[in-house]
Amino acid sequence: MRTHLALIVLAALSLPAGAGAADKGLTVNSVRHASYAAFTRIVFEVEAAAPYVLIRSSDGRSLTVSSYTGPFVLKTPLPQVRDSVVLGLESRAEARRSVVVILLDGAAGEVKDFVLRGPDRIVIDIAKGTAPAPATTLDKPTVIVLDPGHGGKDTGIVTPRGQEKTLTLDLALAIRNLLQKDPHLKVVLTRDRDKALTLDERAAASNAAGARLFVSIHSATDAGLRVFIQDLLDEPGAQPTRPASGDFLGYEAGSEQQELLWGKQQAAHARESGALGRKLARQFSGQDGAEPVQAPLALLKAVDAAAVMIEAGVDKDGEPAAGAIALGIERYVKEN
């Protein structure tokens, strides 16, 4: 087969299970798929994460998934997939190695892949080539929503520096002051005073503002800055963006369809949230390999934007912490 390596992704995973499992190859327990408005998602649930290879053919009409070292074992039949992006999945033997080939339609666009944990999954998102580009233009500012955690009767934790609700508000205001110097950024706060908000109200405020980035700010009793992103269940039903009418998906759903969709918005932003989380984690730690922490966050799942939660430790206060967070946000916006 005359195939050129148009795209090679070698994911050298740093999971504890992955290190030892590398030589054993990849054992795939199940393969799932979901069709969304803007992309199709193929999920390989593996016994233990290990490096894999993803190759796109020169004509762009197929993707080949295989193990980097060791065998690629399929313990499950491949599902029937046929939509406007993916024409089917096939198990093949190429050069004495087992691979899975994803046959693509001509409308298939950009391919993104990433890894989720617990259980370990390789997720491949194939965008529709005709999907509209993000509506970010120079004359329309990028909306960034900052969410100071807790508030009102919910004081959060008490640290040596004070109550969490106060610390998060102070930090959010300091970040806003820094970001507002850039005319291309519009900063919205979910609260700018001591006020109680539910998690759904915070997510709804972000969606209503048309946020491209959402940063929830919290405090910790230990040191350092920790970045969380949503640990997504790759369940079907995730819906990507607000409707073309400009309406946002409110949590006080007006229709049965909206009720079903609330809480699934973040699934469509896994890649962007991962990139934002990685940018901030590396900005804070100064280490190229730093990764955000995946966690099941009740707040972020309903946010229709690239979203992270930051936990600022007892040693992170005032201008230095605000400066580091603002710089990470600015760099992400410029590069994405």
Partner: protein, 190 residues
């Protein structure tokens, strides 16, 4: 005369062989005596009881310095997995390394149920302090201390659902989503 002696010898040998074979066969036949054997039956429950009395060593996971640490504890053996899982979680809450940690110190184990699909339902309730105050990381580690302890010790348990006062709850301390099922996260263990 000589041939008669030879014949007699062969007959004696054959008779001996047949007789000894018969005796051996009789000895190997199962006994048809169906009378109860009280001595043996009395010993079996005593043996089982001694097994139940033996403590069982389990693996515990507890928050420690921003990660989960692995330790061991002993629990009383129980007649079924659900009871043993409940005892294991109770051991976690009572453990000196886990009990003082945020979230774990503020909640109590109300009940644990295990269904046929392998889902364990951990029903929690607030302690004396009604509000559970913890950072997102502390809440995450407390949840996975419970989840990892169950899933690492019991292969029958495939996933965990967390309840508060017998009902579904949004979070324990304001951060982690309890509306989902949990599976173990060994990447949180140092």
């Amino acid at each position: 005369m000589q041939s008669d002696r030879l014949l007699l010898g062969v007959v004696i040998i054959l008779t001996t062989l047949v007789a000894s074979g018969g005796i051996m066969l009789w000895m190997r036949m199962p006994s048809t005596d169906t009378a109860p054997q009280p001595a043996r039956e009395e010993q079996q429950p005593a043996h089982q009881q001694s097994l139940l009395d033996e403590p069982l060593l389990i693996t515990l996971y507890y928050p420690h310095e921003g990660m989960l640490a692995e330790g061991s504890a002993t629990v009383q053996r129980q007649p079924d997995t659900q009871s043993l899982a409940r005892a294991s979680l109770a051991a976690l809450f009572a453990d000196q390394r886990a009990a003082p940690e945020p979230v774990l110190r503020d909640i109590r184990l109300r009940e644990l149920y295990l269904d046929n699909s392998g889902t364990a339902y951990i029903d929690l309730m607030p302690g004396a302090q009604k509000d559970v105050r913890a950072s997102a990381r502390e809440e995450q580690l407390a949840i996975y201390a419970m989840v990892n302890t169950l899933l690492q010790n019991f292969e029958e348990i495939k996933q965990v659902v967390l309840l508060l006062d017998g009902r579904e709850a949004q979070t324990l301390a304001g951060h982690m989503d309890l509306s989902r099922t949990f599976t173990k996260r060994m990447d949180l263990v140092k």
